[in-house]
Symmetry: C2
Subunit: 156 residues, 2 copies
DNA sequence: CGCTAATATGCATAAATATTCAATTTGTAT
DNA sequence: ATACAAATTGAATATTTATGCATATTAGCG
């Protein structure tokens, strides 16, 4: 199911570069890019990308990515750190344990910190193990979803 | 028709202080504050206030005021400068002429600058006269509307 | 005051967006 | 491979938001 991720990043580009004010026009643009889906799917995609609809300051509204969503170059490299180091992630209640390749725990942990995932209250790294504590009200599913949207989108 | 302005500022407070994610609940809150209107009116109010609907970062969306819409105390005093100094405003094409009380042109002009109305490209002040140039695509109606929403809402 | 133009509002409805449900596809562990 | 759970999607529908139009209210002005 690589399809969806590709679509998501195309949507992101479209939103970043155009003033789009409804899903139907976005749908058309997507079609021209080769993605043929329905409005229902697009609605879900937008929610997943956390796009908002904000005022242009005078006459209307348009879609907009959340602030911190220009993935800076340095941030990309942190994401790489995560991908290179991480082996597994498991949970017990509000706590999670991430296993990494030996010696990678610290760089992964630091990278997670930089990514500032809203689900993570805090984390601490050993040599190949990271403990994380979920923020109150968050579930492991929330965190895993964040991972999916933040991590896989990076190419090469 | 003071009513609407009061309602607008109550709406602003409600949005600033609560996580509201649809107009019906906002409608209820308004009712409790003593404002009884329909969803149609509320929809128009929100557009007038330029509120956006943005992601809370994990599970949903809520209304949010545009960034620069916390009217700072200093900004309030600038608005007062405008209200105290201004006498009339007239247009010819893309240009506007504001007449002020003698000696007030400068303070009004500076205040307009601070308010950073999107409709104004630039302005220059004499002693009791200000010239302003509208930004391309903007009309005098746009500017006057901005005035109405920015200036009158300030109390005392 | 009464008149008029502008503004504000509600009602009904259109337009836009989200969600339910069933079907299909994909991932994973035998 | 085969079976089962999870994820993805579309179609239909529900929910939410915007708007056209008629009416009501207000601000000016003679």
């Amino acid at each position: 199911m690589r399809e969806r991720h590709n679509r998501l990043s195309v949507i992101k580009e479209l939103i970043k570069n155009n003033r789009i004010d409804n899903q139907d026009t976005l749908l058309d643009m997507l079609k021209k890019e080769g993605f043929s889906v329905t409005q229902a799917t697009l609605s879900r995609d937008l929610k997943m990308l956390k796009v908002g609809k904000i005022s242009d300051g005078w006459s209307g509204y348009y879609y907009s990515l959340p602030e911190n969503d220009f993935v800076s170059e340095s941030e990309k490299s942190y994401i790489q750190d995560v991908r290179r180091g991480i082996i597994s992630i498991e949970f017990s209640g509000d706590m999670g344990v991430i296993k990494t390749r030996p010696g990678h725990a610290n760089s992964v942990c630091f990278a997670l910190d930089v990514l500032a995932l809203p689900e993570i209250l805090g984390s601490i790294a050993g040599d190949d193990t990271i403990f994380i504590i979920l923020r109150e009200g968050m579930t492991k599913e929330d965190l895993l979803e964040s991972f999916q949207t933040r991590i896989p989108e990076i190419k090469d």
